[in-house]
């Protein structure tokens, strides 16, 4: 199962660019840990997370999650688990530029709720 997150370019959302700031050392450790967790939890044969940083433009990919499992359920759940985790616990911050103005994207409570269902911490 592969999921790719793109920079939104919906009609009416004049996002000019999205800049991803990140904390490299923590990002590598966090993503490594969550890949191990997902692999054991969902019996994945393999799993990969790619997360870009720097300035990105509409329709460009931001990140990609890939999971490989014997059965569809584990592959889908594993990918969703990784996605939920990336949203809240991977050290990246999005700065959105629209109409010449830059603003930091606020973390969403719904992302925290999504992660809690996996009863991680």
């Amino acid at each position: 199962m592969t999921f790719t997150g793109l920079v939104r370019s919906l009609a009416g959302s004049e996002i000019e660019s999205m800049t991803l700031e990140h904390y490299p050392e923590l990002a590598e450790r966090q993503i490594g840990q969550i890949l191990d967790e997902a692999t054991t939890r969902f019996a994945l044969l393999d799993a990969v997370v790619i997360h870009r940083f720097g300035e990105l433009f509409p329709d460009e990919p931001i990140m990609q999650v890939m999971t490989l499992a014997l059965h569809r359920r584990e592959a889908f759940d594993g990918a969703e688990f990784l996605m939920d985790y990336l949203k809240t616990d991977a050290p990246f911050w999005k700065l959105e530029k629209t109409a010449g103005e830059s603003s930091w994207v606020a973390a969403k409570e719904s992302d925290d709720q999504a992660k809690r269902r996996w009863k991680l911490d």
Binding site: G5, L20, E21, H22, Y23, E25, L26, R29, Q30, H51, I62, M63, M83, L86, K87, T88, D89, A90, P91, F92, W93, K94, L95, W104, V105, A106, A107, D111
Partner: protein, 83 residues
């Protein structure tokens, strides 16, 4: 000890990193936030609602009650918005 700042916290403080010598009684992340806010008014303003500030000690995500004694690096940052 080295302190790293990211995203809007880095912008508000106008620095991404600083070296500090902490007094003995500053032992946890929340002690550190209070100490920084007390020694630097800009930090007090920058933190705003300190409860939302996340932290990592020597590249491990931790809570506010985590110890920082002996740490080489403490990172302070807003809630993460990756993915």
């Amino acid at each position: 000890m080295r302190i790293l700042y990211f995203a809007w916290l880095r912008e508000r403080l106008n620095k991404g990193e600083e070296e500090v010598n902490l007094p003995e009684q500053v032992r946890t992340v929340s002690d550190l936030l209070s100490w920084l806010a007390s020694t630097d008014e800009a930090a007090d303003l920058a933190f705003g609602d300190r409860r939302i500030i996340r932290a990592a000690v020597d590249e491990r995500l931790v809570g506010h009650d985590a110890s920082i004694s002996g740490a080489r690096t403490v990172a302070l940052f807003p809630p993460m918005t990756g993915g």
